[in-house]
């Protein structure tokens, strides 16, 4: 059954008519064409599909579209600040936090959610926050450093 919903997607009001059971991940990738949000497992175990839903990081593969009327959603495509990379994006580039890049979108959205809530996280806080985001390439060390550096940059801007 199709349902009419209105969401704010990366800052823009968007009207959609979607089957209620369509998962947010599939809605983004297949219907809207935003493939920056990745599918790694489809069962909420890997975090590659992490997006911000009303400011909180969620696995978009576990959210039904029917629940989304009025929701504010930010995906990796909405992370830039104007034409500029968000500090957390820039830190991932500078510190070598990216390899194959497939987990990167989810990792960045989770990191942003953490830094929004706690701009001065300890290493343990960061490791805990991203422990649901699997990365097979990096060994996480450079990602942790990137989140620390991004936090420092964001604090300096305040």
């Amino acid at each position: 059954m199709k349902k009419k919903i209105q969401i704010t997607l990366n800052g823009k009001k968007t009207d959609l008519e979607v089957p209620s059971h369509r998962l947010l991940l599939d809605l983004l990738r297949d219907e809207i064409g935003l493939t920056g949000t990745k599918e790694g497992c489809g069962t909420g175990d890997c975090g590659a599909c992490t997006v911000l839903l009303n400011g909180k990081a969620v696995n978009s593969c576990l959210i039904f579209s029917g629940e989304l009327d009025g929701a504010d959603i930010v995906t990796i495509e909405g992370l830039k600040i104007g034409p500029e990379l968000h500090p957390v994006q820039r830190a991932f580039v500078q510190d070598g936090g990216v390899q194959c890049g497939y987990c990167t979108s989810g990792m960045l959205m989770m990191s942003k959610a953490l830094l929004d809530e706690n701009p001065d996280p300890s290493e343990e806080d960061i490791r805990f926050a991203i422990s649901g985001n699997l990365c097979r390439c990096t060994g996480y060390a450079k990602i942790v450093k990137a989140v620390q550096d991004a936090g420092r940059e964001l604090r300096a801007r305040r």
Binding site: R29, G33, L34, T35, G36, T37, K38, E39, G40, C41, G42, T43, D45, C46, A48, T75, I76, E77, L79, K80, L85, Q89, R90, F92, V93, Q94, G96, V98, Q99, C100, G101, Y102, C103, T104, S105, L108, I126, R127, F128, I130, S131, G132, N133, L134, C135, R136, C137, T138, G139, Y140, A141, K142, I143, V144
Partner: protein
């Protein structure tokens, strides 16, 4: 060495921006116009005859465009042994084997139609253990094995399921054992694990009805080899096949060979020109793509009280799964150096690659080295203990050094192994006892240290070719068939082109990979790319530079030899003010749309092929990588849980083209190795069914599971490598489990012989030790 401007610098990745913005398009993201959606019916039985397949209901299902079975796709492929049908023919050999496939207008429809296909099986005996399957009286998993087409080096074993029996024979091991003061025999096992790249597998295919041309879009790590394999299977000229590589979200060996490609091609032949996408979800990726060989490794060594090794005999069973894939070459290249990087006068190795009724095993970061290292590196510690030597000192006394002749007959050069041992050990304060965990309130923790080292060959002989194009804006395009699988090759190869042309990095880009236009490359495997493709790109850039110099010489009123390159400019050495930008030179001579193209090819030749009776070779590998890992662990004796406190990894890379990227590779390899040491195990029951095909049940390391990691770069230059470089992709993983195993043994005073080092396993070894039974 000359003054390097870009090579050797920690340049950030050239592909990072598109990856942090979500703009990068991976194979799994790719949508083609008018595309159909493929779904697969997998075998539910591990070894069975197919009595009947009924696809009628599926064909009639609304929205279905094509349904195919083995009858519709009568093709067989295989890299070294042609044994694998596109879809099962007459029988199935593992649970998860593709039996039939559907193409439909959307994924839901395809999935519904797959459920309407009926298959009737008649079960046959199921083999899960390679030792059982290798017996001469075993039932043949491939009845027609003898008639399969095989590469020349394949040496099948005595039993019907042994696809390869590798033999190494040096000296007289029995005599060596007689000369020894101590002879130790042990048996180690390595379980089946999976690559688990975060991007699952997918492939798209299209067959043009008019020309018959086949196009395949797939994130394959060896598109030219895959093209060759498809061309052989379809008996079609290579020019009628095209591979286009979208970005790959990690591979680690899983995305080479043919996996989903044959299914997509079989469907595409039935859709009247419409492209078909076949995607595996995570569970399907676990059961039906590729695994790492489980292995049983028996090792027997004679040692003198002085610490000299007199003889080593090994038997290794490689659990190859249902099809040969890369099993024969994993068996050969994993068994040959399995005795370890040690001076041993008498060596005998028998490696058996064995068919079983399990998912197909193949290449996996390290290509057979991790399995041997798990056994031999722990065995080495046991030998040291028995002769009363420190494990580091024992290794330093016995490891290969410059000029040694290895037990397979090759004289070794550029051997940085000792330095890796010393540096890795130093980083964890080897020899200094750690009594307690600082700040820990937990009682009963036992702390231990351990290390392990490896030598890794690379696939040889192979060829890489490259092109470098400079346009009239001064942009440089690198044409290379190396696949960006996350390892950073596009950055490394761009650095090399930038270095030779003295262009700024931001002017250099790598071209997309399309076999119609990109020059040949053997594969992105075996840590071979920096060396082989690095040499090819370097040569192509030098060729372009020579051509640019020839164009610039008359413009600058000088001779070619009098010119130099710097900062994107060409100038006269003795009159540096006389200069032109590279862009101007191209534009003036060739116009605004002009280009200068350089080309080069690099091949590492073997003087002589491997001797199939003795396993001997004068030069088995273009170069060797050397690495040592060292670990500190804390074991909780109450629970058996081993927690890593610190790991160091010292790698001889020859020359670090990009130190940032080298550290990233080492850390990533370490993390993967730690996962395989402590958690990972694809659990398969006696019926051949995978019991944990999800990330919930198959435990990859998370950010919380890892200790402090110390990557250390050692540079012992390889004269033939670009700027002295060797390779680095694989060794980060290989010695890691053994280093941790040695640390655990040091902590609890008893050895664990089987991976993974789970709390339960360690707990029982501690209990056995208390009863006085363990080693």
């Amino acid at each position: 060495m000359e003054n390097l401007t870009v090579v050797g610098k920690p340049v950030t990745r050239i592909d990072a921006d598109e990856k942090v913005t979500g703009e990068a398009v991976y194979g799994y993201d790719l949508v083609l116009p008018n595309m159909l959606y493929g779904k697969v019916l997998f075998s539910s039985n591990a070894h069975a005859k197919i009595k009947r397949i009924d696809t009628e209901k599926a064909k009639r299902h609304p929205g279905v465009v094509a349904v195919v079975t083995g009858k519709d796709a009568p093709w067989i492929h295989g890299e070294s042994i042609r044994d694998k049908p596109f879809l099962a023919q007459d029988k199935v050999r593992y649970i998860g084997e593709p039996v039939a496939a559907v193409a439909a207008v959307d994924e839901d429809t395809a999935e519904a139609a797959v459920r309407l296909i009926e298959v009737e099986y008649e079960d046959l005996p199921v083999y899960t253990s390679p030792e059982d399957a290798a017996r001469p009286d075993a039932v043949a998993i491939h009845e027609n094995f003898a008639s399969y087409r095989k590469m020349a080096f394949i040496t099948p074993g005595a039993g019907p399921n042994v696809s390869e029996h590798f033999k190494l024979r040096t000296g007289d091991v029995e005599q060596g054992f007689r000369e020894a003061d101590i002879v130790l025999e042990e048996r180690y096992t390595v379980p089946i694990i999976q690559h688990a790249a975060i991007e699952p597998h997918s492939a798209h295919a299209q067959v043009d009805p008019a020309s018959g041309r086949v196009t395949i879009w797939v994130a394959n790590d060896a598109p030219f080899r895959a093209l060759h394999e498809i061309s052989e299977a379809l008996d079609m000229p290579k020019e009628n096949i095209r591979f286009i590589n979208p970005l790959q979200g990690g591979g680690f060996g899983s995305k080479g060979g043919l996996k989903l490609e044959p299914i997509a091609v079989a469907l595409a032949y039935q859709t009247n020109g419409r492209p078909v996408r076949v995607k595996f979800n995570r569970e399907e990726t676990f059961i039906s793509t590729l695994t790492r060989h489980g292995a049983i490794v028996q090792v027997k060594t004679g040692v003198k009280k002085s610490g000299a090794i007199t003889a080593r005999a090994m038997t290794i069973y490689w659990n190859g799964g249902a099809y040969a894939e890369k099993s024969p070459t994993v068996c050969i290249r994993g068994s040959l150096p399995a005795p370890g990087p040690y001076r041993i006068p008498n060596v005998k190795v028998d490696g058996y690659a064995v068919y079983t009724n399990l998912p197909v095993a193949g290449s996996y970061r390290g290509y057979g080295i991790p399995q041997g290292a798990w056994a031999v590196e722990q065995h080495t510690d046991e030998l040291a203990r028995r002769v009363g030597m420190d494990p580091l000192a024992f290794r330093l006394q016995n490891v290969f050094v410059e000029g040694d002749v290895a037990y397979w007959g090759e004289e070794l050069h550029s051997v940085g192994l000792k330095e890796t041992l010393q540096k890795a050990a130093e980083a964890i304060e080897w020899g200094k006892t750690v009594d307690a965990l600082p700040g820990s309130r937990v009682k009963g923790l036992k702390i231990g240290k351990g290390l392990a080292c490896i030598q890794k060959p690379t696939r040889s002989p192979t060829t890489s070719s490259a092109g470098v194009i400079v346009n009239a804006k001064g942009d440089v395009s690198v044409l290379a068939g190396t696949v960006e699988i996350g390892q950073g090759c596009n950055t490394i190869l761009s650095q090399i082109a930038a270095e030779e042309l003295k262009m700024p990095m931001e002017k250099v880009r790598t071209a997309p990979l399309d076999t119609d236009v990109i020059p040949y490359d053997a594969s992105t495997t075996s840590s071979r790319s920096t060396y082989h493709m690095g040499n090819a790109v370097k040569g192509a850039a030098i060729d372009a530079r020579e051509k640019l110099a020839a164009l610039a010489a008359p413009m600058l009123e000088g001779k070619k030899e009098e010119l130099a390159f710097a900062d994107g400019k060409i100038f006269l050495k003795h009159h540096p003010e006389m200069s032109l930008t590279v862009a101007e030179v191209v534009r003036r001579k060739l116009g605004a749309e002009g280009t200068v193209r350089g080309e080069a090819s690099y091949t590492y030749q073997l003087a002589k092929d491997l001797d199939l009776e003795t396993g001997h070779s004068d030069n088995a590998s273009a170069f060797y990588m050397y690495a040592t890992q060292a670990a500190i662990v804390a074991v909780d004796e109450e629970t058996g849980r081993a927690r890593l406190l610190k790991m160091s990894a010292a790698h001889d890379v020859g020359k670090a083209i990009n130190p940032l990227n080298c550290a990233a590779q080492i850390e990533g390899g370490l993390a993967m190795g730690i996962g395989s040491a402590l958690h990972e195990h694809l659990v398969i029951d006696q019926n051949g069914k995978v019991r944990n095909p999800s990330f919930l049940d198959y435990h990859l390391v998370t950010a919380l599971d890892l200790p402090e990691m110390i990557p250390i770069i050692v540079e012992c230059p390889e004269p033939q490598g670009p700027y002295g470089a060797k390779g680095l992709g694989e060794p980060g993983l290989a010695p890691t489990p053994a280093a941790i195993g040695n640390a655990v043994a040091d902590a609890i005073g008893a050895r664990v012989y089987d991976l993974p080092l789970s709390p339960e396993r360690i707990f029982w070894v501690i209990q056995q030790k208390k009863k006085g039974k363990a080693a």
